[in-house]
Symmetry: C2
Subunit: 160 residues, 2 copies
DNA sequence: TTACATTTATTGTAATTGCAACTATTGTAA
DNA sequence: TTACAATAGTTGCAATTACAATAAATGTAA
């Protein structure tokens, strides 16, 4: 084996190791998906950080702020500022919790619910951008395996 | 079906849709992996943003700065500051490119190469944290499918 | 050659994020 | 009851990241 070939083989091996790393692949995909999502969301005037909250509130209206953060796995301070942004955009409102004076319940406004309705088709389009070449079976396989890695059982709440 | 059951079923459906979304799963996993990596890397005194560069330079020493950024899919300004950090930490050095006065070649120092040697076992440990419950076959399947989603052929460079 | 576009890299500044301190409220146990 | 711990939420400030402007070098085409 010549020197150049040796070098190339060494490079390819290391590259392969990197590109075969679960964490590496997840990170690369996360960044790309985030970029595309940002683009699509900006077309309908929605900020990325508002997006996840809007989705979740549309499925569970009236949660407390801390529950909202917990479900999205966001830290409290982040949720606090995200809700500020939602409120400022007119998508949600804080209401006092009748059961406790220290918790706040978050509700979508009509405007927020309308905006939330535009999101699923964006999500679907981004997902299919990345899964274009996947067969139906491959799609279901990759989802199932990712759920397993995230410890999300196929039929319920995350275990973390 | 009673009212409460109706509500619960509606919630579960939406939740399921979210937790079955490729993008959502990737984002959740990315954040969790990032958190664990940050923790493990801090134990050996390596900053997260230095990490990727260190790995890549260890497989391809002497690349130009822009190539480094391109391979990691980082923007130029970010790479510029990352290299600043690498140099400041004594892990790498900038050298003039004999072929062009506007490009810079980045080389690992001995210290950088030593530090890079500590990384693979950390990567492996984090990966196996998340793939603990996976069979050998499942591991290879999920890697193959993620590579496909990232358009990384099993034997070469990413197409993007 | 000149003129102009492109590439490479850096940097000032604005926006965002993360940390930690803080207030207010509620829970707990003596 | 009181004292103390834990929880919910907010906010000031430091650190980080993103954007856009810049400078310098190189490529290109007349």
């Amino acid at each position: 084996m010549g020197w150049n070939q040796y070098i190339m083989s060494r490079i390819t091996k290391a590259q392969n190791a990197r590109q075969s790393s679960f964490g590496f692949l997840i990170q690369v995909l996360a960044r790309r998906i985030d970029g595309v999502m940002k683009q699509r969301l900006s077309e309908i005037g929605v900020d990325t950080k508002i997006f996840a909250n809007l989705m979740l509130l549309n499925e569970r209206d009236g949660v407390t702020q801390s529950e909202l953060g917990r479900l999205l796995e966001f830290p409290d301070y982040y949720t606090s500022r995200n809700v500020d942004a939602l409120v400022e955009a007119g998508y949600a409102e804080r209401k006092p919790d009748p059961n406790s004076r220290r918790t706040v319940l978050i509700f979508l406004t009509a405007k927020g619910r309308d905006k939330a309705k535009e999101l699923p088709k964006i999500i679907a389009s981004v997902n299919s951008d990345f899964l274009e070449e996947f067969s139906k079976e491959e799609r279901s396989t990759v989802i199932k395996l990712l759920q397993k890695a995230a410890l999300i059982p196929e039929d319920g709440d995350p275990k973390l």
